[in-house]
Amino acid sequence: MEAILGGIQILMSWQVLVALLIGSVGGVIIGAIPGVGAAVAIAILLPATFAFEPIVGLTVLLGIYGSAMYGGSIPAILLNTPGTPVNALTTYDGYPMTKRGQAHRALSLAYSASFFGGVFAIICLILFAPVLAWVAPNFGSREIFLAALLGIILVILAHRGQIMAAGMMAFLGIFLSTIGLEPARYTHRFTFGQGWLTSGINLIVIVLGLFAISQALLLLLDKERKPESARVEGSLWGGFVELLGLKRVAGVASSLGVMMGTIPGVGEFTAQFLSYTYAQKTSKTPETFGDGSPEGLVASECANNAVPAAAMIPLLALGVPGEALTAMMLSVFYVHNVIPGPQLFQNEMDFVMALYMAMLLLNVIVIVFLLSSTNLLLKITQIPTRFLGMMILVLSFVGVYSLRNSAVDCALAAGFGVFGLILKRLNLPIVPIVLGVVLGAIMEVKLRSAIARINEPLDWFNRPISVVLILLILFVVGNHYRAVLLEHRQRVQRAADGELKGREGEAPVAPEGF
């Protein structure tokens, strides 16, 4: 209770409230524009927030992170174009509803489901905070190293059908984190005698290049798209009443969102997939899924909006980010000398509570804003895409150059931009690079400090959390291997039965393979 009151006190400053308003409204607008997304916006704004107090800077970024998915549902439902990648599943049922003349109902349901998912996750966080505060101090260097290792493994394995690409990108990220002056012995690593590489490659330069500049280049070079949509008439409050009838689906989907958000490297897509599958399997009308089912819409929106709040758990409690956006936020903590991890939960619980309550408040601001300005947002989604590319490129400069006024950083960011564009065109994953950079640095530092207390291999098993994490790592890898093997056998069997004959008698590509 004391922590909650302390949190309220931190929140009650005009700077935090303005940051919350700008972050949440800005996040909705950014989410509603297809081709921008929270990652691009956070990457651009990150250096600008370094000048603020940690709570103010984090509130802006959290606002964008937590509200972008709300906005992303608008073009997903009305234009069949997801505003953010995680709104892709929303198009399955949202757009068919629009085609049936139920756009108003679909939007209303999506808003209320998003609100429910977001608030549900934050309430869970507030309730679990004492448990986390109790468990977190038991995480030493060894456990944090193992958690980061688990995060890397999960990120790689989460990219089914692209495991090899995700693996090479994750290791590329780890490699990038090692470039420059090594912090313990001050030896040079992969600097090739170049002075500008001595200080290493900044995470923000990599993030801005891979997310913002690559997206700008993609929009600038691609064909022009200017989506058109009709106005949405009438009140959008009705979704809350309809959601009451779907409370089971909403509850389960939000719980899955919380669970998947907590696990590093898993995130929105898995949460949505599991929720959607659950909703379809337990529905009385499973045949309507993908063709305008309100249950499907609720499942995907509840799940994806529950994830951002839950993703803060590994970041705050262990200092281990689970996905790209929380990895970016980690740099804000570091810049302000606030080190997330067990100490934060022990010593600054009111700060943690302030963040949780800021997230709660942002959901309220967002829902009020959305219910009153959907048609305005619809106009913003109609910015020509190539013009949007120009805007992102201009804004990217602020993000990179304001870091340390270095033209070299800008050149590196441009290089990463071209690299990111190639990865996007080839449909290869980008997120593992960012997580590799962040988790690689964490693993190096933590393993080095952990090794002082480990004399023989069996010492890894002399602490309970360490044992649990090692078993989890073995389970995750073993389970994936078993699943791939099983799927492969099934494919071979089906091919033998003649079910999988594709073009020219050849079996089609296995999306479930490596």
Partner: protein
């Protein structure tokens, strides 16, 4: 033969045009790093293996090379979609805008953030084919608002342009601090 076919099936995946080119180039980059591993990361005496400066670069480069090799195998055994040259040209075209961006970066400390940003957004707008009066006005307003928000409002660290020294006394300080 059956084993080889099974191996191929296991590595088959969705392959876009240009995938093989990327896979070969990436593996080449990994091999270049591998070849330079000994000279670019040091192994010291009397230091535990995991605390060695070269330990993590070695893990990273070996990991990259291992996965890059498997990715290349996947690319070679997957069905090819034609369009490699077209895709390569698309990648190269992105360099044009990267060069414009670097010219913009170079110009900021000389002509100042305000002028360079307005000119850059205006130039890109025209280059993209938007010639209407509305588009031109919108791009100028956008450039202006970026400067007002970030340099004037949020006071982000961007150095004043050398050009500002030649401004009249009355506005020189204002331009140096806020524009």
């Amino acid at each position: 033969m059956t084993r080889l076919k099974t191996f191929q099936e296991l590595f088959k995946r969705d392959r876009r045009p240009g995938d093989l080119v990327f896979a070969v180039l990436f593996l080449g980059f990994c091999l270049f790093l591998l070849a330079n591993l000994r000279s670019q990361a040091q192994w010291l005496d009397n230091t535990a293996t995991v605390a060695q400066p070269a330990f993590w670069p070695t893990v990273a480069v070996i990991g990259m090379s291992f996965f890059a090799g498997l990715h290349l195998i996947g690319s070679m055994v997957s069905p090819r979609i034609p369009g490699r040259l077209k895709e390569g040209i698309f990648w190269l075209r992105s360099a044009e805008y990267a060069v414009y961006f670097l010219i913009y970066v170079w110009s900021v400390p000389i002509v100042g953030y305000l002028l360079s940003t307005i000119l850059f957004s205006l130039f890109l707008t025209v280059r993209l084919g938007y010639r209407s009066r509305t588009a031109i006005i919108m791009s100028v307003l956008f450039g202006l608002s970026v400067v007002l928000v970030f340099r004037t409002g949020l006071q982000v660290r961007i150095p004043p342009g050398q050009f500002y020294q030649y401004l009249p006394d009355s506005i020189r300080t204002f331009a140096m601090v806020y524009l």
